[in-house]
């Protein structure tokens, strides 16, 4: 943050009126002033600590307690031994990877298309990305449930058009889950990719064409590499959000697609097993944080997260 010079100028009017025009006193004044300003963060910080950090820390502690209340690793041991947990983790990764890949495949071309439009047209087309972004996730999941059901719109249109003869099972399985999740995650990919594409200097492409590159070469050798940071950031956000997904697979998966977050909720609501739920939650959290940490080291993600607001 570029406030160092700001602070310096802040102090000069005070220095003239200050009773202690000594360097030490000024330094201490500046320090106190900065601490007072920093204090403005404390209400938000306190809230996040009390509502999130401490309870999650408590869950971390619970995950190491056996049912009798003694220290044990049984909840983690169960995760390694039990086949059902292995299946849940496999499903979670499968769904997250597939969703991310599909989002990249259809989101990148859309972002490219939007980035090339004149700004007025681009703003109108961007609304098609922002509208779902602003609409309730539950409403969109419900809409897909209605569209994809046995006698739903997609099936009846496909049969009318002769695409298939009898209703295909589109929902309450992996298909439905993927369709719904891609729909929900797509804006998270398109917006950062669009942002990074808009920042690419078009002169590079002209230069490439000038040097004899065909349009395809200019795209793959110049434009595509420059858009990669945005693409990685978007794909990462999509993947990490998918890992913790709950509502969409619960509604569109029909009990056939069980992801980690759903199992956590079941452990609480059905089995009242806080230890097991906490242990799963800790693993999910560590996975998420680990992936984010490694990629932020690789990609300087904080720059994108800090400056990449979509508004």
């Amino acid at each position: 943050m570029s406030a160092a010079d700001t602070i310096a100028t802040t102090e000069s009017p005070r220095a003239e009126t200050s009773e202690r025009p000594h360097a030490d006193g000024l330094k201490r004044d500046a320090f106190l002033e900065r601490m007072r300003l920093f204090g403005l963060c404390s209400p938000a910080l306190l809230l996040v600590l009390v509502i999130m950090v401490i309870p999650v820390g408590w869950l971390f502690y619970l995950s190491f307690l056996s049912d009798e209340g003694t220290f044990s690793l049984e909840h983690y041991q169960r995760m390694i031994d039990s086949k059902s947990y292995a299946r849940i983790f496999r499903t979670t990764f499968e769904v997250s990877i597939l969703t991310t890949v599909i989002c990249v495949l259809i989101g990148y071309p859309l972002a490219y298309f939007l980035a090339q439009l004149p700004s007025r047209a681009a703003n109108i087309c961007l609304l098609t990305v922002l509208l779902p972004f602003w609409t309730s996730l539950l409403v969109r999941t419900y809409a897909w449930l209605v569209l994809l059901q046995r006698k739903g719109l997609i099936n009846s249109w496909a049969i009318d058009l002769g695409l298939w003869d009898e209703p295909v099972k589109l929902v309450h399985n992996l298909n439905g889950t993927l369709i719904g999740m891609v729909h929900i995650m797509l804006p998270f990919l398109v917006l950062p990719v669009y942002g990074s594409m808009k920042a690419i200097d078009k002169d590079y492409l002209k230069a490439a064409a000038n040097c004899g590159a065909s349009p395809t070469q200019a795209f793959w050798q110049v434009f595509f590499p420059l858009s990669l940071p945005g693409l990685f950031a978007g794909a990462l956000i999509v993947f990490v959000l998918c890992l913790g997904f709950f509502v969409t697979p619960a509604v569109l998966g029909g009990g056939r697609v069980i992801m980690v977050a759903m199992r956590i909720a079941d452990n609480i609501e059905i089995f009242f097993n806080w230890g097991a739920a906490s242990a799963l939650g800790v693993v999910l959290l560590l996975l998420t944080m680990g992936i984010l940490y490694v990629s932020s080291k690789l990609l300087k993600l904080d720059r994108i997260l800090g400056g990449g607001s979509h508004t």
């Binding site: 963060c41 910080l45 999130m52 309730s136 409403v139 006698k151 909720a265 400056g307 508004t311």
Partner: protein, 273 residues
Amino acid sequence: MNWLKGAASDTQITHGNRLWLYVLSGLVMIFLVAPTVIVIPMSFSESQYLEFPPREWSVRWYEHYFQSEQWISATLTSLTAACLTALVATPLGTMAAYGLFVSNVRFAHLVFIILISPMMVPVILVGIGVFYAYVKLKMVHTIFGLVLAHSILAIPLVLIVVSSALRSYDMNQEMVARSLGATRLRAFMVITLPQIKFAVITSTLLSFLTSFDEVIIAMFVSGGDNSTLTRNMFNALRDQIDPTIASISTIMVLISSVLLICTQVFGKSKKEH
């Protein structure tokens, strides 16, 4: 069809060569918008099985909604929680953004990460953590507890939006005001705030929507007389496809669209100045 041969970009590609891109983008945009839009006419269907286009139009599912005490009380709970969340998260987030921006302490970056962490921690974990804490504090099923939990989800959004506005704002203006005798608070209120007000308004709307649309935390900590709309919808969805939900969905889509249009209008007027 001459435009097909015209240049499409700064390289020598023509529109004709890129027809596939236009078709694909069009289809993806339809994919993005159609489901939300198609629910609207369907909610006016007479039939128990939602049809499109409806064979017979009716407002029976809206009547069903407005006459149901349970749905209406859930809607009021959601609206109250969303307004309060916006009222809590916007000032706290804005204060934090301003504090971090001007204080320039060494650990500001760490604090920023902690404050936006609720965006990255899986919501399910926040949900059960909050639930556990609220059981101990006897705050389960209270609007107060729900608002606090939703606020920590909204603060990261406020922080990001307001911080990026502050970065493009010239802080020297505030210095001028202060050198002319204004206190820091007054300088902020009179000089800085009016210039970042679009970011603050956007943050308020985002905070409202974050709370209004939130499902998972509400599922754990709201309930009884204080069940939220999304909690009831989610429970209804797990059992069967209730057409009443189509009418509620339509209302929710309208609310989101109006808020989205508000931000676009604010954004436009900002550019014109």
